[in-house]
């Protein structure tokens, strides 16, 4: 079983794999792209680039703080510096460096966090990036992208490298359903409407977009018309799409594989509360650390599945 299967979607590659393949391909066209790794390139998938372009690749060892500041130095010399680690090690271990070496001086550093969410499974909570979006969003001027499938991740990688300035890209470990055709349109900050609906809007990103589509499929059977928005960019968030959804569907449910505080739910709520206040509900990890286990078992236990989304929709339907 995988999210999207219920809705007839095919299983595709993990977003970390799509990022790695795209990075290597783009690296051939962009000699200014360099990679800094903290010895997890075979996990975050910068490895294909590093093997293809060894002179532009720097493995600094298990030292995320140094990795981020070295990337900043390379960027200040005109490079497009990509650095990556597990989302939690990147954002939590190197937060001061992301703040002082990257965000504050507006450096052209792309920082990519893999192994996001609880769906990494058996390795357990120490490896799960569930606070990364909140931390990244808190940095002034930093854009935050959470792509939902392999196709979108490739497009997001290209868009990220084409834009100057600091950007956080969040990828995942597990395979996810294919939501988009090859060559689909992708713009940073522009949400994508996957399903139209009139009773409620489900706003999701990452792995949870396919789950939201499945929830919409289920809800349709019960006569509830749910709009699904893929909010791949958390910052700057697509306010226009949120306001339109609030106005037209009058109810919003926000779904993410992240803690309750400071993630997509908080960002959307901030927009809704000051524009078109409507009833909202949230599906997320809550305010806790998870545990080791099989990925689907964890997603079910921590309430990150289509059934939980359906329940949240019902809670705002009254």
């Amino acid at each position: 079983m995988y999210y999207g299967e219920l809705s007839g979607l095919k299983l595709g590659a993990a977003t970390r794999d799509a990022f790695g393949d795209a990075l290597k391909e783009l690296g051939a066209k962009h000699p200014e792209v360099v990679v800094v790794d903290a010895d997890v390139g075979n996990s975050t998938r910068t490895e294909p680039f590093m093997k293809a372009f060894p002179e532009r690749s720097f493995n600094v060892g298990i030292a995320e703080s140094n990795m981020v500041s070295v990337a900043s130095g390379l960027a200040s010399c005109g490079k497009t510096a990509v650095c990556s680690s597990f989302a939690t090690f990147l954002l939590s271990n190197a937060f001061d460096q992301l703040r002082m070496s990257v965000a504050f001086p507006k450096m052209n550093v792309k920082f990519v966090g893999s192994h996001s969410g609880i769906s990494i499974g058996e390795d357990g909570p120490s490896q799960m990036g569930i606070e990364d979006v909140s931390l990244a969003c808190s940095l002034p001027g930093v854009k935050v992208i959470v792509p939902s499938d392999a196709v979108q991740t490739a497009a997001a990688t290209a868009a990220m490298l084409a834009e100057h300035g600091p950007i956080y890209l969040r990828t995942g470990r597990s395979k996810v359903a294919i939501l988009y055709p090859n060559g689909c349109d992708f713009q940073i900050g522009k949400a994508i409407q996957l399903r139209d609906g009139s009773d409620v809007t489900i706003i999701a990103n990452g792995l949870m977009v396919a789950a939201a589509v499945d929830a919409a499929t289920e809800l349709a059977k019960a006569g509830v018309s749910a709009r699904v928005l893929d909010m791949h960019t958390v910052k700057p968030v697509d306010e226009e799409a949120i306001v339109k959804a609030a106005r037209e569907t009058q109810r919003i449910v926000v779904v993410e594989e992240h803690l309750m505080h400071g993630g997509l739910g908080s960002v959307v709520a901030t927009v809704v509360s000051r524009t078109v206040p409507v009833p909202m509900a949230y599906v997320n990890v809550g305010d806790c650390f998870a545990e080791s286990g099989d990925p689907q078992g964890l997603l079910d236990k921590y309430g990150l599945n289509p059934a939980a989304i359906v329940a949240a929709v019902k809670s705002v339907m009254g």
């Binding site: 360099v34 800094v36 002179e55 532009r56 720097f58 600094v60 060892g61 030292a63 703080s65 140094n66 981020v68 500041s69 070295v70 990337a71 900043s72 130095g73 390379l74 960027a75 200040s76 010399c77 005109g78 490079k79 510096a81 001061d96 460096q97 703040r99 002082m100 070496s101 504050f104 001086p105 507006k106």
Partner: protein, 276 residues
């Protein structure tokens, strides 16, 4: 050499006066931490070790200086003013609302500043990244980084020291301004990181230990460091916090004098003490 030690000493004296004047005018700042670093910064900017263009601060082939101990930025502003990036008068707006002369270096607001610092420990890593970037572009440019000795408490410095040992950027020079004090006391009491040179040598760096408040020694150390091209170089610059006006600080009963400006009266005495 194009410039004499006497000329550099005269320049250093000017820098000291600027530091005292701007921090006293600001009513806050770190004059003593700035004063210890003056001979090295003077040698870098006026001794012919750095190529730079004040009218074209982003010139790609320039050499770069990163002040990782960002609280000593009055020393850098003073040197940049003397170099022609801006007027000395302009630096007197230090720390005032609206001024680009912020309390710590901010490259986003001031061309010629090579890294935004103030959270200790990051400058060497940034400098390593710059050294690697310049090497990648086959530019004959050098990166100089200055840390404090208290700053060596930060683990990131040693991440960078090890990584520089691996990548061997021959265009990277670290100057440790070992003035012997950090915020709450003597570095030997707070966290003794000595022997400093031995630690960098163990990571594959070329090292020197010099009297960093001796202008001739500072000049000689930089001459040696810049002639080494096959590995990173570290100069442990043994200095004194507040050098130049030490008898006055001693009379005040505080040889650390950390993070406080001189009173207007004391500043006047200090400038007279430094002489013309």
């Amino acid at each position: 050499m194009a410039v004499s030690i006497e000329e550099l000493q005269a320049k250093a004296k000017q820098l000291r006066k600027h530091i005292i004047r701007m921090t006293t005018a600001a009513g806050s700042g770190h004059p003593s931490s700035s004063l210890s670093a003056v001979e090295m910064i003077t040698a870098l900017y006026f001794g012919g070790f750095m190529k730079y263009r004040p009218q074209e601060p982003q010139w790609p082939s320039r050499d770069r200086f990163i002040l990782s101990k960002g609280h000593a930025v009055p020393a850098l502003y003073a040197a940049m003013a003397e170099a022609g990036y801006f007027t000395v008068e302009a630096t007197m707006s230090l720390r005032k609302l609206g001024s680009v002369f912020e309390g710590h270096p901010n490259m986003a607001r001031m061309p010629g500043i090579e890294a935004s610092t103030g959270s200790l420990g990051q400058g060497l890593s940034i400098g390593l990244g710059q050294a690697l970037g310049l090497r990648l572009d086959k530019l004959d440019s050098r990166v100089f980084v200055m840390t404090g000795d208290g700053e060596l408490d930060e683990g990131q410095v040693w991440e960078a020291a090890a990584a520089a040992g691996k990548f061997k950027p021959g265009n990277l020079t670290l100057i440790v301004d070992q003035n012997g004090y950090q915020q709450t006391g003597a570095t030997k009491d707070v966290l003794d990181m000595r022997p400093i040179a031995d630690k960098f040598a163990a990571f594959g760096w070329h090292t020197q230990v010099v009297n960093g408040n001796c202008q001739a020694n500072a000049f000689a150390a930089l001459t040696i460091a810049t002639n080494i091209k096959d590995r990173p170089t570290c100069i442990v610059s043994q200095t004194q916090k507040g050098f130049g006006i030490l008898p006055l600080l001693e009379a005040e009963g505080d040889l650390n004098y950390h993070g406080k400006p001189l009173s207007a009266a004391l500043a006047e005495k200090a400038i007279a003490f430094l002489g013309s």
